[in-house]
Amino acid sequence: MEALFCGLVGLFFSVAIYLMLSRHSVRMLLGVAILGNAVNLLLFTSGRLTREVPPIISAGMDALPSGAANPLPQALILTAIVISFSFFSFLLVLTYRAYQALGTDNTDDMRLAEPKDEPMPPLGY
């Protein structure tokens, strides 16, 4: 089961990297979103996969039932999902604003902050 998940994680990573190598900011954004999901799956797999016994201590017991899922990766993933979700929504707004303000989504043409033909500093008085 873990091997299968590893393959899936690898697939997700390659898709994400392929998209992020693109020149267009929207595709890069999609790549970032998939990268976040790839990482979540990786965290999930690294906590070992077990049968689906929820890690909840029922009334009258002192410890988890045996074979319960590892709760820590799930907590980590929840945090990571929250963070990547908020980042994604922020980046979405930013990319849209960049498209509006700069009139392009091609990162090669976004040279406003670093103009191509900047003058050299003066060499003397």
Binding site: L78, V82, S86, S89, F90, L92, V93, Y96
Partner: protein
């Protein structure tokens, strides 16, 4: 999207989802659920209202600015953590009280006020982003 059917149903749907979000928030006390998911449901409720009646109506309906709501939630969560300073236990330790309300014992905890804070943070910040995106569609 602005059909008559949708505009008629939207207020009821919003109210129902709001109530459900509070149910999920309180259920998170001891069972799956909690502040984050409750907050997201509440945001969806407001988003539906916004699609039906426009962003201005939502802003009027929630009265406070969304980011002020998020700030309130953040402060509530931080204070719930700090209360354990008065009890002489480490930060974020859950503190419980069991007051009697109308003959029913109600367990209250800083865990819960923390979760309510999370609810407001999610509600405020995601509503703020959603309203920004919806507003842009209007112009």
């Amino acid at each position: 999207m602005n059909t008559l059917i949708f505009r008629t149903v939207a207020p009821f749907l919003t109210a129902l989802m709001m109530m459900f979000s509070i149910f999920v928030l309180l259920r998170g006390h001891n069972e799956p659920g909690g502040g984050f998911i409750g907050g997201l449901i509440a945001v969806s409720a407001l988003a539906i209202y916004g699609i039906a009646y426009g962003v201005t109506a939502v802003r009027r309906a929630i009265w406070f600015h969304p980011l002020s709501i998020a700030g309130f939630g953040l402060a509530l969560s931080a204070i719930s953590g700090l209360l354990s300073m008065l009890a002489g236990v480490p930060f974020m330790t859950g503190l419980w009280i069991y007051p009697e309300l109308f003959g029913v014992q109600v367990p209250l905890a800083t865990v819960m006020s923390f979760d309510i804070g999370v609810y407001f943070v999610v509600l405020g910040s995601i509503t703020s982003i959603a309203l920004t995106l919806e507003e842009r569609d209007d112009d």
